[in-house]
């Protein structure tokens, strides 16, 4: 069965999706709306409208959100705030920091510190992060390495 027969305007969807995948692949480059709408072979305004209908965000909003998501990922991997900023395609630290705080709700440095703290806790007391039934069934509760800090109820 050819999906093209199943729904109308399949070519249109393919072009919108191509544009989205283009942003996903090139978010760190100096891309702008012209690159993106060129990629989809649409006039700019028609393209923005279609993209927003499908993804709930304009291409520009989607590009910003993608960059911030990738920056979060880099911060979680231990990169510095300024590395994360430039790696995901921002020119200025202050515009990155402002946008990060607006979108994530806390400054990038605080986000990184909070994440690192949680990771340290997980390394120290992994069983505190796993529902007891799973730990028990896997036999993890019998592993003395994991019992240093918190004795489990059956212990």
């Amino acid at each position: 069965m050819n999906p093209a027969q199943e729904y109308p305007k399949v070519y249109l969807y393919r072009r919108i999706v191509q544009a989205k995948l283009f942003i996903d692949a090139h978010y760190a480059d100096k891309i702008d709306l012209d690159n993106i709408s060129d990629e989809a072979y649409f006039s700019k305004y028609h393209f923005i409208r279609l993209f927003k209908t499908v993804y709930g965000k304009t291409p520009h909003q989607y590009l910003k959100a993608t960059r911030i998501e990738k920056a979060k990922q880099l911060l979680r991997q231990g990169n510095t705030v300024s590395d994360a900023c430039f790696e995901v395609g921002f020119d200025s630290l202050s515009s990155f920091s402002g946008l990060f705080k607006r979108m994530v709700g806390q400054p990038a440095s605080a986000y990184a510190a909070h994440y690192q703290q949680r990771q340290d806790q997980k390394a120290k007391t992994p069983l505190a992060f796993v529902p007891g039934c799973y730990a028990y069934q896997h036999g993890w509760t019998e592993n003395s390495n994991f019992e240093e800090t918190e004795p489990h109820p059956a212990g």
């Binding site: 999706v17 989205k20 993804y55 896997h138 592993n143």
Partner: protein
């Protein structure tokens, strides 16, 4: 009074490959990846807009939980595509279908009009199948 489901299982045949599938192809968010001794990890993901539901990518292999025969039977059934893991919802089923297909996700059924709405079916990397539907199927609020 029970109010929510917060953790549930997806039985997978290989946790590395499942991580790649759910995070890099489906776009799920990694919640936890905690080593639990040799050959064992607590691996959970969430749908992007539903952080309070953790899906445990639960390895099917011979272990304390699964005696050899159980693990083998379960593996065979999963590979056969016996298990459906539920309905995943999206804003636009046609765009989501095109994107997942472009990323190499195997579809059993392209978006098709059914009496309850439009539905597509795809398989994960182990063989589990999911139904993909737009939010407004079954009169869910969009």
């Amino acid at each position: 009074m029970i109010t929510k489901m917060t953790v549930t299982n997806i039985h997978v045949l290989d946790q590395d490959s499942a991580y790649d599938f759910y995070v890099n192809k489906l776009g799920f968010i990694l919640v936890d990846d905690i080593p639990m001794g040799p050959d064992s990890r607590w691996l959970t993901v969430s749908p992007p807009d539903q952080p309070d539901l953790q899906l445990v990518l639960f390895p099917v292999k011979e272990s304390k939980m699964f005696p050899k025969e159980t693990a083998e039977t379960l593996t065979r059934l999963i590979r056969q595509g016996i298990f459906g893991c539920g309905v995943l919802t999206c804003n636009d089923i046609f765009a989501t279908y095109e994107e997942l297909k472009a990323k190499g996700v195997e579809f059993i059924k392209p978006p098709t009009k059914e009496f309850y709405g439009t539905e597509a079916l795809f398989k994960d990397d182990s063989g589990n199948f999911f139904s993909l539907q737009p939010l407004n199927n079954f009169n869910r609020e969009a």
